[in-house]
Symmetry: C2
Subunit: 328 residues, 2 copies
């Protein structure tokens, strides 16, 4: 039987997604389950178990799986071949590739989740159009990060930390919180949006933000997005401020990389134009004129499976690369 399929695994902080993917990008079957998040051993067992359900559902036997691609919520250090995932308990210098190759008995390729998501966007988001050779996927949520495709190739950097877009230095006034997350992330990721909203609500008696600010723990970025959608003025102003900071970040990305496409994903992308509108305007205002006029800045249209699709794509590209080198 010809090994025509690739298994894509997406290890997230709260869930694991696994799917059987064809070479043309069709997701034959998929499953999602909670991440145990109680240490490396249990997470590994769950990752391994997650593979069997989609295989059975697709009636594909292990023999039909050419390789396995894995996206991880952190960086894959290409030099030591280990994973460092700060938000997953115990995931420090885990030799994931070696461990999974032993378990799956076929080639395994590991890469950071942002990077494989960028691969999925480059592969599938354009429909029948020529895939973009220069694309940046920007994920906005509790944290901020980017996956970079430049000249048709994924960029992971010398130690796998490329795309740390939360650390784009978009401010000149140092604040202590910048030291933990970078200035862009401190200003414009979820917690930063909640902080800005709290500041704007201070002293206000009425309005959605003021009500939230009075109820302990309810002033979250998600709540701000909901209030903005309902037309709350201060909530809209909060998202505009975040969008302006993000726009300076995107301007910096576009100046350096001159991508044809910037795709916005992550939980905060749900805010849609309330956030992406100000982002786009700021990117144009601050950006290199030619590059920022040419770039398209859009919200992702791939769903929650983009992680596993990208992981599968990564494995396919690595296999092809290896086969071509063997032939050369």
């Amino acid at each position: 039987m010809k090994r025509t399929f690739v298994l894509g695994l997406d290890l997230g902080g709260t869930k694991i997604a696994a799917g059987v993917v064809s070479r043309s990008g069709m997701l034959v079957s998929a499953v999602r389950m909670p991440t145990p998040a109680r240490g490396v051993k249990r997470d590994l067992q769950a990752l391994f178990d997650s593979a069997n359900t989609p295989l059975a559902a697709a009636r594909v036997r292990w023999k039909g799986i050419r390789a396995v691609g894995v996206g991880v919520p952190g960086a894959f250090d290409t030099r030591t071949e280990t994973v460092w995932a700060p938000n997953l308990r115990g995931w420090k210098k885990v030799p994931l590739r070696r461990l999974l190759e032993r378990a799956f008995r076929r080639p395994v390729f590991v890469e950071g989740d942002r990077n494989v998501q960028a691969l999925a966007e480059a592969w599938l988001s354009g429909g029948n159009r020529r895939p973009p050779r220069n694309l940046v996927f920007l994920t906005l949520g509790t944290g901020i990060g980017a996956g970079i495709i430049a000249e048709g190739r994924m960029i992971s950097g010398s130690r796998g930390t490329a795309g740390a877009a939360g650390w784009l230095a978009v401010s000149e006034h140092w604040r202590p919180e910048f030291g933990r997350t970078g200035s862009l992330e401190a200003l414009a990721a979820g917690p930063g949006i909640a902080r800005t909203a709290a500041r704007l609500a201070r002293g206000k008696k009425s309005g959605a933000l003021a009500r939230m600010a009075r109820a302990e723990g309810s002033l979250t970025a998600e709540a701000v997005v909901r209030a903005a959608r309902a037309g709350d003025r201060l909530a809209c102003k909060t998202l505009e401020a975040a969008g302006e900071s993000l726009g300076r970040g995107v301007a910096s990305i576009v100046a350096l990389l001159n991508p044809e496409l910037v795709v916005i994903g992550g939980g905060l992308a749900e805010a849609g134009e309330l956030l992406i509108g100000p982002l786009r305007r700021a990117a144009l205002k601050w950006g290199q004129p030619l590059a920022s006029r040419q770039v398209r800045i859009v919200r992702t249209r791939l769903g929650e499976n983009n992680g596993l699709l990208g992981a599968a794509r990564y494995a396919m590209l690595e296999i092809d690369d290896h086969d071509n080198r063997g032939r050369g």
Copy 2:
């Protein structure tokens, strides 16, 4: 006769450099001459003429030249294959590659000067060490720009404007001058340094900066660097401010690309540690912790020939790439 040499041409705003380069990176012979800068036709003639002197000096016949690489002071639009060099009279959408291939009757490869300089650094600056696969060359002078090598490849972007580091958005307070050059360039390139110095000198009666400020036109970035070297306090403070802005730019570059090496070149690199010291400290303060601790930030050690060496290197890589594809 085997075509073992490559001709490297470096078209600058004020000078043209041409040299015969061996595959191992040896500069066999070189010449430099003024750029006519009186229109495209005369510049082209000068470029063509510049090639003959180093060939004659090296006793290499045209038959021995495999290809020609050209670095240009602007962007090479990879889609239209035309050059746009804003500081050279008439250089808008010039089909340089086609014109030179007709003249030289061999393969010609054109690329932006910052990009080929980055190639030269990756090729030659490490001595016998393994060449860095992720390197950024940052040129600081009247303008600011970068050449990017990521995963071993030069990044030019979708339309050739990648590396426009002057447009890194490192400030949150908009000033009109940012719209012409980008905030990093407005704050930290030559004219920005002169502006900062003038502001600091205002109202001061004594000191080098105050004296310069009184003499029309003498308060240049070069003069500030000289004064700082002589120990003038305000001149040092000026360079520190520029270095802090540049450090935020480098922090952004390092966050996005995770290079192992950042090489600083251009006229302002002459300021040495007076500028690069504050730059390094700010890059570490603002940067992603892992990536900014690992990166080395050094001044270029290649001399004035790095442009033509990089252009030659670019031609070699393109030729090899072409040959490998032909074989595959």
